[in-house]
Symmetry: C3
Subunit: 660 residues, 3 copies
């Protein structure tokens, strides 16, 4: 570990049966020994509660802890993350083992932090969860079924509930199309997981009130609304496994759009998730809890990380606000499903491997970046990526089939040009405070929860710039359509009425033609696909129009002056080239601060961390070729090498420089 | 509704829980008010029995009403159309609510007709249905298991039943390959659904003997043999949702063949279903019970209906025998799965939308076509499309996998050239009376039920022309192969023996070369794919031969003179160009009456309705371009505009004219 | 049968309910009659135990005999091969019917052999099987759970078992990723099937000790390790259904690689399975128990066997060591799922069909090959294709997804050039005796069981040549990774250390460049795909290097001199052209005996049978064109025609000649 420059280890994930081989029989000696050894070596421990994998004896004795699937089949013991979060027996056993851990290691010099469970996820449909769901619903709907029936629009298809007991969670063998039910179920799953997390935390908070806690998230994992977890946690951390070097081979990693998969696209998409993690705690640095030094083992194809890529991807996380770089796994397991997953120490068992050397180099680099700890990314721009909006969009039938609507990818597509320009950008939910931003981008804001339209209005009124797109303002928080014309409560702010939305077949294209002398200073035509909304400009003025089809000449891009600010509406899905030109124009118009005011070659990005006084510029080359960047007249210290830099500098393939 | 020109509304589908919020507690006040309002406005009501969606209380109180899936899992309450047709509890409750409805509205001035349930479909495998199936089998097989064992060929794989209780419906976790069982199960499902329909009808027939009834069909829905329903219904109606504007994009709507998806192909395929609906009652006009004014919500991609297409597709239905054009839905639901399905009134809530204007135009057009009500389509030609034949073909293992045999598409491929020529064509089952036709086309007549071969023989003997294809006369009504040489009982009539059938890979092609100086007057070569049967011409003469492969030179198309008529046999699947030339030659030879004796541009068709004396010619342009048609010397009144027409006339894109 | 030249019939498969229509009530009269008739006609009978399809009464009376699926659902009665091999009730009933059969026909003159059940396969997860599995595990692990936990590496994910009762077979709703469990379960399934086979055999061995027994295998069927069955059987037989004439159309038969599907590739792959069947009994001739004279009925597309192909494919089996050619089915069933499966006698019911004539020709040919009966294929070469290795590879997560690793196809790719060269080649497991070979090819020897590395070492030491590839020596028999550097126990023998393995996307390519003046005499470049391992040559010398990527110049092919022999290591998946050049060089260097020392056109192969003294050379033309082969100066008797041949001879399309 010292050779690798690693100073912190996460311990004890999935160790329950080793800690408690039989109910009530505990064995900490092995863990004592490791903790002591690490402490002696000056290495800190993030100690995990072992609850993500339950012992077989527990499932055998308390069958209620086994999950029931959506199609109502009780699972057998096996795999991991497969316990019911509601089951009292599980909560009881979790309480005991967590208390034991806290009591034993409360004063251990190695103990740095608690790692709660592992990658919370999934859901259970057992009778206990059905009861808990109904209780949750009674609370939400003031114990009044009429409220629920109205919110869920149950009169449709004769679904009105007349007793609470008639309500069942969504199921492929039962109800799956009642959108009010499905979205409330997802909200319940998040809340119930948090309720379980509270059970996990109780003994830790009681016994070790000063030890911070985290749990490891999974980026944009769709099953849980991470924003709801924030107040329970002291630090945000996540597990990042980008699929490098896929070069757009969609047979590999499922990148859905053309041209995706080039390493700088993967980097931008990864940065999008880093942005969420940083934004969850309002800009506070997060931790990269898991990453692989080489390959993962669950992608269709596992290319080795090319020389330099490990360092580059590690420092990408730091550039976006991570204060740590950690690994799964330290040493490769000999057996079972993850035996071929990348690790710092391979089965060969020595430090004389390429992978180990790559890891050691990162360790050595990080040692030089101590000044960055605690600094943040000074964002004037935010993208709204909202879990509930995603759920509602995925549920919606029309204008194209379910996930084909690509909400997440669309948010990433709007994020990409900002990232290439080096614009510090937060990724927030629609409930966040907008007041610190100057530019807010809200792609496909299909759901508008109560108060959000008003808050967006205030933001623009006070001088902010808002960018909205097609398919916004369609439903409220109950997934009920707004009446009186889309985009519903945004209609006045955006100054448009969206009458219809046309869906295009995957191979079909239309065009967007910029109006002459438009405010953006953009000219020419751009290609459209997937969605074309047919607008009526009301108070908005038209910046671009459709090139073809029966709505040729109708508005395709509008802007509405509103108070001191401006609200843009993009009516169709448009090619990347447009988004680059469009955001470059906005950035220019708003004089938004860039990490580096330089033209960067494609695949090279600059990112910024700052403590408010001093700035740290990360220059990252995601291409396999040498690149040249012109730093201009200013002089910088390159922190990793200690050298002074200025003017035209060279970047090696997959190179990274940190300028101070 | 008056603005839209709508004079009839269907009410009450899925309204059960609103009508009966608790068992035995009824609330008709809301429906009274709507019925009264409509009556006052001169709008008629087609009143639905609400049984397609059951209340949650019903499922809760009588679990037996919940369907059991083929893999023997009891469904939970949810969705719609998910009740057991056998369950006594369901039949009891249906009887009560239907009686209440009939009693309350028997004399209401708005009541025009009963709409029974909604889109009957699906099947149930519960114990009650197993019992009912066994009872059905005992009746069919004279309570004699030996009869059943013989018919089902159960000795194969040791499947002989020795007690009736051993018989279970087909299941993916049980028996699925015993063809006798699977086809009898499908017959039972049809019969049991009709039995349930009779339960629904009983109180209505008793209380309102003079109010006609219909139920809405779904075109070629494979699960039910609609021909069996005919005697229960007074009027045929169906729900038509073609996928316009897909332009052959098979990622969208699953059109299986090359070049499918152009709007005139979609129109011809839709006309095929209209043809079934009209033929079900021997040519009596049917009703277009549901259609969407804009988009549906269950296709992969929902393109807006282009301007004019709604009118064009509505009048296509009328051209083929519909006396109505109705919509699902009048006003868009605010919530749940169909909230984005097209409607006359959108969420915006006014008549000032493009869609509303398109609907209003259809309303105005229909007002000018009152003379057509009750007229029919004078067909001298029929295509046999037979549900049981389809089931047997889909079950058959070989010569290609299951549905890849494309029975339905093949029938539509033979229908298409007749449709483009404007030949009025019925679409019938093999049990229909053949005597009124001069040309019968029977593609892939794999199953020949008892008596059918004899009746086809008589038809030809009396001067009729019959067209058969490869893979005919293979099995009898029990799905047992005919012995003694295919096409079994058609061998003498067709004058051939089909020794073997070769299947081609999707990309493989062969050719068919016309014999010199053949009777059809067709020359040259055509492309073959999928299936090539190897024939021996016995009494038939050879019109074309194979171009390649080891059966090069063998007969590929034969004709057999038989009595006063002729029976053609097409041994291979051949390209559309051939079918066009072939049917043009037959039409010519038989001097079959065309709607309009003119050369029509591709994508334009003419269709005919007539009361026996006066004719109405529909000219329909399914292209997006203007087209010219030469009406010749004759003069017509164009009914929609009232103008007089003759000679060369112009059709706008998606235009329709009705000539009298 | 006499017209067809058939002298042996297999009877009674799936006839249980006909033999025993009710429990304890037997009816042999129909079988007596057939047996007597056949005996009188001089036709022998291979009599089947009827246990592959159970009667409905048996399932009804003893529900324990119904299989439970991996997701723990009890199946209903239906299909075939769906009984629990453990159930005492089934074993009891099987014992009775088999005893009855043996007693009745023990002395019947027609009885030649026993055919046990039919195509054993599948698995059952019922409680009885769970118990049997636990008993099997207790025995294997000395009744010590610690041993099992260590072998299965259960500490991973907290899976340590603390009671035997906690162990359940793998399940999609339970444990599926514990590799030790999954591979032991597959071993158990093989052993339990054999245990059931022993139950079947007991009465037969007791009553008819002199009648040989066989059961029909299914080539490389993945579910059972056929090597374990060998000691129970007197003769090996199998059912061969190659997919001829697919011409690389992968929509048809699932041939995974480019250019697969040409008939000579299909022939080589079929020969690979023949090679397994012959090797199972150490070179003893096997029986082709089932083949179709025309089409099967379960492929996606069923092309007719072209004229001559039936004879060619039949004699291919003989060329590779079959002493019989038999058919499924004699006469086509009239009903149910196999009614369209090819047969000698078609539904037409006469001998006047093309298919019958093809069968009769094979019968007539075989009569001329009596001298070959009992001869073998004198193999100096063997390919290791090992079932347990396959299971472990398919389970492994990484470097690409599961089956995409293509173990079986890779073995066939190495077999193909040897087959085209006419090198007699055995296909063996890693437990076979290596001492009779001079060349052993062991592609992807991922698992190395105890002792195997040592035995391969001895083989090379004593002068043998060994060819290994990427991804060898990764895990031991418990599926635990070797520590200390891959290829684990082969490291010294191969003289290399494989540090990392890179996976390529399906469209990616790299190259292999031969070193100048290498020992193999091969020059130039070859294309690589899928896998590239990064090697360190230790004692080995480098024959070729990588052309590109970050491991450009690293070793891609090495050779290690070891004792009197040599061990090659091919680090990457390479195109067929290389394998041809490589094996041609090895064959040359070792002077391995070829069937015919002639240059053969592509698609033509020569194969050898021999009794040690006299040789029989099969010349097989798998192309649809005439071909010329130069036999050189030597003269041969062509056994099928009786003519004498030498020099340049002509082969008709799909022709076969047998030279003596």
């Amino acid at each position: 570990m010292k050779l690798a420059g690693c100073n912190t280890m996460t311990l004890g994930i999935f160790s329950w049966v080793t800690l408690e081989p039989r109910e009530g029989e505990f064995n900490f000696s092995w863990l004592d020994r490791i903790m002591d050894d690490l402490a002696r070596s000056g290495i800190f421990v993030i100690l995990a509660t072992p609850t993500a994998g339950k012992p077989a004896w527990l499932a055998q004795k308390y069958p209620e802890v086994l999950r029931v699937t959506a199609d109502r089949r009780k699972r057998l013991h096996g795999l991991r993350h497969n316990h019911c979060y509601t089951a009292p027996a599980y909560r009881k056993c979790v309480g005991i083992i967590n208390r034991k851990l806290a009591e034993r290691y409360r004063s251990h010099p190695a103990l740095l932090m608690w790692h709660i469970s592992n990658e919370y996820g999934g859901e259970c449909h057992c009778r206990l969860c059905q009861e808990a769901f109904r209780t949750w619903l009674r609370r939400k709907y003031d114990n009044n079924l009429d409220n629920l029936n109205r919110a869920w629009w149950t009169a449709f298809w004769s679904h009105t509930y007349t007793e609470w007991e008639q309500i069942e969670s969504p199921s492929p063998i039962g109800e799956s199309l009642l959108h009010g039910l499905t979205i409330d179920w997802k909200r319940f799953v998040t809340d119930q997981t948090i309720d379980f997390l509270r059970t996990e935390l109780a003994p830790l908070r009681e016994i070790t009130p000063d030890v911070p806690v985290t749990t490891n998230f999974m980026g944009t994992y769709p099953g849980l609304n991470y924003w709801k977890f924030v107040e329970q946690l002291d630090v945000i951390s996540w597990d990042s496994y980008p699929c490098w070097h896929s070069n757009g081979d969609t047979t590999g990693c499922g990148h859905p759009s053309d041209g995706e998969g080039r390493d700088w696209k993967v980097a931008a998409d990864t940065a999008f998730s880093h942005g969420i993690m940083r934004s969850l705690k309002g800009g506070k640095p997060f931790m990269l809890m898991e990453s692989t030094p080489s390959v993962s083992n669950w992608h269709p194809v596992h290319k080795l990380k090319r020389p330099g890529m490990h360092r580059l991807s590690s420092l990408l996380a730091v550039a976006h606000g991570s204060d740590t770089v950690q690994y799964f796994q330290w040493r490769k397991s000999r057996g079972s499903s993850e035996k071929l997953h990348g690790a710092v120490v391979d089965h060969t068992g020595s430090e004389h491997t390429r992978i180990f050397r790559e890891v050691a180099r990162v360790g050595s680099d990080l040692r030089k970046l101590d000044d960055l700890v605690g600094t943040t990314v000074p964002a004037e721009t935010a993208i709204i990526y909202d879990w509930e909006n995603r759920w509602a969009i995925d549920d919606a039938m029309g204008p194209v089939y379910k996930r084909n609507k690509k909400y997440e990818q669309t948010c990433k597509n709007h994020h990409y040009p900002l990232w290439t320009l080096g614009i510090p950008t937060d990724v927030i939910s629609m409930d966040c405070d907008f007041s610190s931003y100057r530019l807010i981008v809200a792609p496909m804001l299909y759901m508008i929860r109560e108060g959000v339209a008003e808050r967006l209005g205030s933001f623009v009124e006070q001088g902010g710039v808002l960018v909205c797109t097609y398919w916004s303002g369609i439903v409220d928080q109950n997934d009920l359509c707004f009446l009186g014309g889309f985009p519903g409560p945004l209609r006045k702010l955006l100054g448009i009425w969206a009458e219809e939305i046309d869906a295009l077949y995957p191979q079909e294209r239309n065009g967007l033609i910029m109006e002459a002398n438009n405010d953006l200073g953009i000219t020419g035509e751009y290609e459209l696909r997937d969605f074309c909304e047919i607008l009526h400009a009301e108070s908005a003025h038209v910046l671009a129009r459709y090139k073809g089809d029966f709505y040729k000449g109708e508005p395709a891009l509008t802007a509405n002056n509103y108070g001191g600010g401006k609200a843009y509406y993009l009516a169709a899905r448009v090619e990347e080239r447009f988004l680059k030109d469009f955001y470059a124009s906005l950035v220019d118009g708003l004089s938004l601060r860039r990490a580096l005011a330089a033209d960067l070659p494609e695949g090279v990005t600059a990112q910024l961390r700052s403590d408010g006084h001093r700035s740290y510029i990360f220059l990252l080359n995601f291409t396999q070729s040498p690149q040249v960047v012109d730093l201009g007249g200013r002089k910088y210290v390159e922190m990793l090498s200690g050298s002074k830099l200025g003017g035209r500098i060279d970047l090696e393939p997959f190179d990274v420089k940190v300028l101070s």
